[in-house]
Symmetry: C2
Subunit: 202 residues, 2 copies
């Protein structure tokens, strides 16, 4: 199946069943958070995103009060988390360092390219490995006291070159596809090698 997204035919992007969408975040990657309200579009980097529930699929993400993207999410009630790749390292760093409050032209300056899935107006970032479209579950206490936002995953997609049949294939693709795991400043680790436990009983 091909998804005709906007005017671009994205041959490799396929839906991920919602009950499998936690696997897109389970390995702890640094993510990009995107959203738009009636006047603004925001994209920022977040290292503190996590799966919260399998079914209905939910996620958490920590969004500092200083960020414009947080304000946009509070206005619109929707956001996307997406899993960027090593190829996007500079973009991920720039989207995390620069604030749209100081630099209204942040998105243009960072060179981020956005698209939308057909059924949704949440802007998402081109070239990522996976996308989770989320509806904010408003929790004023968590948002105010902890900067913690909870979202229900309403749709999920992945690039089948690196995620298919519910599994990542990082070990079968070029390094440029690997997820990023933030350390501090401009320093990240990429995801490494697969290891498995023999699940048959002794």
């Amino acid at each position: 199946m091909n998804l005709n997204i906007g005017t671009i035919l994205k041959t490799h992007i396929h839906p991920v069943p919602l009950e499998k969408s936690y696997r897109l975040l389970n390995h702890g990657p640094t993510v990009l958070v995107s959203a738009q309200d009636q006047t603004h579009t925001g994209v920022m980097t977040a290292a503190w995103a996590c799966a919260l529930e399998f079914n209905p699929a939910k996620v958490t993400v920590v969004l500092d009060k200083s960020t414009k993207t947080r304000e946009i999410i509070e206005n619109s009630g929707y956001f996307a988390l997406q899993v960027p790749t090593l190829k996007q390292l500079k973009l991920v760093y720039a989207l995390g360092m620069m604030s749209q409050r100081d630099a209204p032209e942040k998105l243009r300056q960072c060179g981020v390219e956005l698209f939308q899935f057909n059924h949704s107006d949440i802007p998402v970032v081109e070239g990522c490995a996976a996308w989770l479209l989320c509806k904010l579950i408003p929790e004023p206490h968590n948002q105010q006291a902890h900067d913690l936002f909870i979202g229900e995953v309403i749709a999920a997609y992945a690039d089948d070159r690196v995620f298919r049949n519910g599994h990542w294939y990082y070990h079968e693709v070029e390094d440029e596809w690997k997820s990023l795991h933030h350390v501090a400043g401009g320093h990240f680790y990429t995801i490494g090698n697969p290891v498995s436990v023999d699940e048959t009983p002794d």
Copy 2:
């Protein structure tokens, strides 16, 4: 400085400043969660743990209602998160698959070895790369509705062979030290290679 922990001299374990403790989790590793109340000691694996705040340092961890460790944490108000290593792969898998409710001898069967830091009675797991001792911040709504537990980090430690001066050195040590990032079932990825953005402006 050496820490005399119980009867064992742990030459390589050093405190991590609380405001740097988020870095122990920032790369998204699967963790072990441990706790004890007046009658029980629990240890389980959790892939859904995340930093929540820099200062005062806080963390989140998702603990299913079926787990004994959750009950112990609700009783005692304290828990530890620790970052296990590839060397502990079988242990990490077993502590995640087996429930103390079905197998009261889980900890012995898994072969987990525990110790305590001098100032604390929270049991922690031998051989990990880092430990975060946490005081539960009771949030009944989050715990009941989302299985989400928030802790304030009251002390943090790391093995200086793999984490020192506020940074991981996964790239300088044997693979057996690498963090584990759970995929599903017995399948994990290890953390990979360091990558950096040149932080000097163009």
